[in-house]
Symmetry: C3
Subunit: 364 residues, 3 copies
């Protein structure tokens, strides 16, 4: 990811496809035109009594219903009497629109980065993922890429289902993937593993998190959450994890109007972007080498790859070279070596490059 | 285990078979008719000095010997002088009698429940296992059964050896088994794993214990104990564990007259029976399903299997459905899913049934 | 290892072979003949300011350089002025000399014991390994041996590389191995695992350490250290671990004149020797047996292998017999049984011998 080159042609597309179901999107709100007493109206009004100035975010899942979300303060200020109720909507077959950015790499094997774009006006649980994904695409568009990258900006659930239904072949080329969400708040990182549990993306994310400074937690896979639910459904079982800061449902601002631009921070978004780029860097550079001098250690000193005077312990760069030489039997990847040595991937990867240039390693 | 049906014919039998060895049972007590001084007699008197009102239970294993067990108080009250000693016994080839109750099921694959009936007058270390096994047989006789069940009421060691020697074919049909002993006292549960260590009975017992309220401990297999010693001998290596409350040898009443009816409690026997029935329920219902809609999540809402309005977290029933759908790839059993999700088997099993009825799962 | 027999012919040899590289040994010190001011000389003088009376041990690795090691007190006492500097050395193709002691056994499979003999005048980090290895060879020369043993007394790094380069065939016969170093100080034991991580030598060493009284620690393999670096290079990947007391680099006396005869203790050398002999004993006696009576327990009482009266718990000898009978299915080694039972190997091994003599086990 370090070498820049001429920018590869990038495909950015907005897709509008027929809804896979029958008017499912429009079903989320039904039309209503009526006059009704406050008492009757209240069954359709949603507030958060314990946070009287926040507006909740409520969804009717595929049931024909309607309602208004408002602050509890507003509700308390409403006088008895008749109210005119009007939602100008129609329930009919519609279209599903999503955005897609494809960056071709040397290989047609893909890494997908997926984020949802459907929660109205929520900042952490919507916008943060879009932001980090967009900037990550910007960075990657300027780099040499081994993998091809596909960024999906989709409505949650139905977007992932639609994309997977229409792109079975591309889905089969997915080697690694990340769902990004709730990634701009002040919390530490949470990485939720893929259904496979020990996929390379799971190991890469855990490794990178372990070697950075912020607090973090690794969560086991569960089938409830964001669009990893679809990517990890048993028919696909793609190696896709989910990267978050705070976990949905565990912070009071979740699914309320308080999940706004004040709730997310530029520095946190930047830290999340750095983390994503580092994970991608591991995936891009994780390969296996074969030590061309496997019988005993090659003489590093003669090749200017060792210290010249003994006494104290060797430095970490030399130690990394010894690890790479020792485990490069064609079976261990650089990530394997980083994990076993306890050293950061970047150090192991740098050592492999130095050794390769010295003619001591070959890629397998 | 929930659906009742017409009671299946049950075979209850008492078997009397020649002793496998030569008069081994009778060797446990030899005849004696003599007059001897107290000093000489004392070598044949067994007491517990630190518990002067308890009588110990002592056995001579296959060595021709004799003795009397009594309280230390009685021993102290015995005057010097000559005593007439009389045990009217004979050492000759005999017969071994044991009880067996066989409940046929849909399959000839068997679950055996084994308990010993040889410790004279001991309540926890003898009678408690017989009691729980008898009531469990009563419950199971009223239920539809996938497995066939064999309850063995046998003298310890020689009973199990005899049954195994005479029933090699039936032993080959044993898929799961439990030895029940010391299961009526006030202690928490102990489950000792089979020699295999990760047999389905081991996993089922551990799972059920984890999801009930009483304290418990899982013990690794060891070759000393009750009749699991024989079932788990290397030639058979049957998946048979041992369920106890207090562990033999760890409570002072063990192998004494204080292991009496006051030492065991009806409520504890009932709790043990419930636990056994729950373990059997897991074994009966543990099967694998295939999600018939494996590409992304099926729309549960349309099938009335989801909540209708979003906001808070989903309930445990819906979560269980998501787990079953996600892991039902024909490879994971319901117990696998219960273990991975951390949910009780009953919840997972109920979810699978609901999904099967909705046409979303098929049994494999 | 317990039965003595007529001493087997032992080969003790000193080998002198051409240096594998070009004059590498001589490169460690270059000749110098000059007169120079103290200021210029100081760049070639090595001391330890914080330990003013200790002399450091410094090495120039394969770079043509020269220098003198001295105490800091000596350095401070040197007056300004010109100094005559003289090292009478020559840099030319040379010879590498090492010692080897080979003890043939019933099998040509080998156990190698390797120690380095190159650190000038250091006691713990040189002499201690030589001492323990020499005494271990003395003990083994008096014993029946299943394995053949090869003791290597070699200069570090280049010695191991030379031996491996010239003995490819013998290297292929190495089944287990130990590098001995820093094994006479007052510290507890450290065993560093082989690259394989779960080789029989790794398991034997861990088992023996667990069942002795001194503090110890098991260290994972790393490619930096002593000659296990070479034995465990990927082309050889021999099952060779490293046994130490204090770990190199972690004690202040390391690579200084304070690592002298006062730093090591006879009792500690003796304890290390006992440990090595016990590890070798495990390797010599670790085999698999088959229970000839695998269907249920054989009657041990009739064979005088059980207690005669029940009551308290069985003794550890009987328990060991039950473990050996239960797990001797031709698949589990005695070390497997010792590990699973938590009992010391010697107890398990003794039980197996008793059972074998009773006709209950056969070797597989």
């Amino acid at each position: 990811m370090t070498r820049k080159k001429t920018v590869t042609p990038t495909t950015i597309a907005g897709h509008t496809v027929p809804n896979p179901g029958t008017g499912t999107l429009a079903m989320m709100r039904s039309a209503i035109q009526a006059t009704m007493a406050l008492g009757d109206l209240k069954a359709h009004l949603f507030t958060i009594p314990e946070k009287p100035d926040w507006i909740p975010y409520r969804t009717s899942y595929y049931k024909e219903d309607w309602g208004f979300c408002l602050t509890h303060t507003q509700l308390l200020a409403m006088n008895e009497g008749d109210y005119e109720v009007c939602i100008d909507a129609s329930l009919e077959d519609g279209l599903l629109t999503y955005g897609e950015c494809y960056l071709p790499g040397q290989s047609s094997d893909e890494i997908i980065i997926s984020c949802h774009a459907c929660h109205p006006s929520l900042a952490n649980d919507n916008l943060s993922g879009l932001t980090v994904a967009t900037f990550l695409a910007g960075i990657l568009s300027q780099c040499d890429r081994y993998y091809s990258y596909r960024f999906l900006f989709i409505p949650g659930t139905i977007g992932a289902i639609t994309w997977l239904a229409q792109n079975r072949e591309a889905a089969g080329r997915v080697r690694h993937g990340l769902v990004l969400t709730c990634i701009g708040d002040s919390g530490g990182f949470h990485y939720k593993k893929s259904r496979r549990g020990n996929a390379e993306i799971d190991r890469a994310a855990a490794h990178v998190l372990k070697h950075q400074a912020e607090p973090f937690e690794i969560l086991e896979f569960s089938p409830y959450g964001y669009d990893e639910r679809q990517y990890c459904s048993p028919g696909f079982n793609l190696p896709v994890g989910c990267l978050m800061r705070r976990v949905w449902g565990t912070f009071p601002e979740y699914h309320t109007s308080a999940d706004n631009l004040d709730f997310i921070r530029p520095a946190q978004l930047a830290g999340s972007l750095r983390l994503c780029a580092t994970i991608v860097d591991v995936l891009e550079n994780n390969r296996k080498y074969r030590n061309l001098n496997p019988f005993c250690e090659p003489q590093l000193g003669r090749r200017n790859l060792y210290r010249t005077t003994g006494g104290d312990a060797i430095g970490k760069e030399i130690n990394a070279r010894l690890w790479v030489l020792n485990l490069s039997d064609g079976e261990h990847s650089l990530l394997d070596i980083a994990e076993r040595s306890g050293m950061p991937f970047s150090l192991i990867c740098g050592a492999a490059e130095v050794l390769r240039q010295a003619g001591l390693l070959e890629s397998v």
